[in-house]
Amino acid sequence: MRRIEPAAVLGVMSREVANFRTFWRSTTFSSLIEPMVYLLAFGLGLGTTLVTQVDGIDYVEFVGTGMVATAVVFASALPAMFGTFVKHRFQRTYDAILAAPVDVEELVSGEMLWIGLRAGVFGTFPLLVTIGFGLEPVPGMLLVPFFAFVTALAFAGFGIAVAGSVAKIDQFNYVTTLVITPMFLLAGTFFPIDQLPEWAQVLSQLNPLHQLVVLVRDACFGFEPTDLLRLAGLVALVFAMWRLAVRQLTNRLID
């Protein structure tokens, strides 16, 4: 493997930061308001009528903690897919970056790190909102941005790999419908998965979003020894997605 130069990775990230400064307000607004809307709807809708508690947790707190995973996937996989495709195909940004002393590996690493950091921050917003709704703050919660960051790195790598593989932008629909939406619904955000059929439970264990949901809930309500295994699984996934993203984008960008 070639040497990765931090200066190149930071340069790629600095371009993202410069662009982010032009649209951070709208992103921050929606990242804060969206979990509020969900919590109000589910809390007032389901929480006061059908379910009051799940696994001994208030339903609003159950959904609120689970929504960290929702925020993470929507702040990582989708920006990575669309952002990469647009920067490559429409803006030709990558042609300019790769003409500088930056290799595809450094480009992918910079993009993944920036999306990871951003989603790590925005991923904690649902947790902050849930605290506002009455969730008790505990020290374990300080690890939530880290869990969100790690998971976001994996989804960023996944999104970049997808963008490096599709021929047209509308093919993203297949990925969102067949991968993102089922993962999001079977993560255990809105209902516990232990009441699902066994095959769905097995699938959920393979779902990185479910692992994040469990890690976040355990950060709020008490860690279990298996959490280390879950984290290790996510870290392994990050590495796999990073290599896949580098490979797919190299095939796309270098003739």
């Binding site: 190149a8 803006q91 030709r92 940004t93 002393p101 960008l253 003739d255």
Partner: protein
């Protein structure tokens, strides 16, 4: 040492041989115009030089670095101005420059940005988003971005394509200044005038190969003589002159409603009709003489 040396370079895309045995040497300190019609392989050559395309065969050296293995070292010392604008349009002028100063590992970012702003004459627009600039300003910024790290070698890919004449002249002045500073320039273009004005040497490219190269004046003298005649007349009159010119061994072609006779100073007395227009021969004439194809 030559700044760029290509030997026997081949690059295919499926059945298409975009670059087909290309030999090219660009000595340090000159401006070489790579001239050819669309599809001649100019853009692929540019991508090979920046490591964004990998040659199937052949040897490539840029600033002494072997490609693709040492491509990154070469890119660090080379500036690239793309044909299509890929600036970040929502970001300010100075941030666009600062990002690339970082990508090129420039030690003093602020000084490099100031210098590039002065070069592009955009000092008073530094805080504006690129979106608010005119087409000419954007092109100047694009060039300044490629020069932000003071490269020894600059690749200009069709620097004035699609620009109106006034802006084109502005860009030529900018390139002229760069040349005066001693940078090596490889400029691809399909505009004859651009190549004749700016290039110390030109390489004519067709079907993935360099078919002729040298100083513009020498190439013209060698392949197209001093003067060329354009004869606008009814078809029958043109046909008669054409037969006579061909019999005299002169280069002849049709260009729309005109008959073109290349190297007309060598024509026997009385062959060229008095009403024909005489002009100096150009690289276009050289190109057509050598390939039978038009450039623009």
């Amino acid at each position: 040492m030559a700044a760029i040396e290509l030997e026997g370079v081949v690059k295919t895309f499926g059945p298409i041989r975009a670059v087909d045995g290309l030999d090219l040497s660009v000595p340090a300190g000159i401006c070489l115009g790579l001239l050819g019609p669309n599809g001649a392989g100019k853009s692929t050559t540019m991508r090979l030089l920046t490591g964004q395309a990998i040659a199937d065969r052949g040897r490539l050296r840029v600033l002494g670095y072997e490609l693709p293995a040492r491509s990154k070292d070469a890119r660090a010392r080379m500036g690239v101005v793309p044909q299509l604008d890929n600036l970040d349009i929502d970001v300010t002028v100075e941030e666009n420059l600062a990002v690339f100063a970082r990508l090129y590992r420039v030690p003093d970012i602020a000084a490099a940005v100031d210098r590039a702003l002065a070069l592009a004459r955009l000092g008073d627009r530094r805080g504006d988003a690129v979106d608010e600039l005119s087409g000419g300003m954007r092109r100047r910024l694009l060039i300044a971005r490629g020069l932000v790290h003071r490269p020894r070698l600059v690749l200009l890919d069709e620097p004035t394509v699609g620009l109106d004449p006034q802006i084109r002249a502005e860009i030529w002045t900018l390139i002229e200044g760069l040349r005066a500073e001693g940078a090596t320039i490889l400029m691809s273009t399909h505009y004859i005038e651009e190549a004749e004005r700016l290039a110390d040497r030109v390489a004519l490219m067709a079907r993935g190969k360099v078919i002729a190269s040298g100083r513009p004046g020498e190439l013209i003298a060698e392949h197209a003589g001093r003067r060329t005649v354009e004869y606008y007349a009814p078809p029958q009159a043109r046909a008669a002159v054409r037969r006579a010119a061909e019999a005299a061994g002169l280069g002849v072609r049709s260009a729309g409603p005109a008959l073109v006779i290349v190297g007309s100073e060598r024509a026997p007395a009385g062959l060229v009709p008095e009403e024909a227009i005489t002009r100096p021969s150009s690289l276009e004439d050289v190109f057509v003489e050598l390939t039978g194809e038009e450039l623009e």
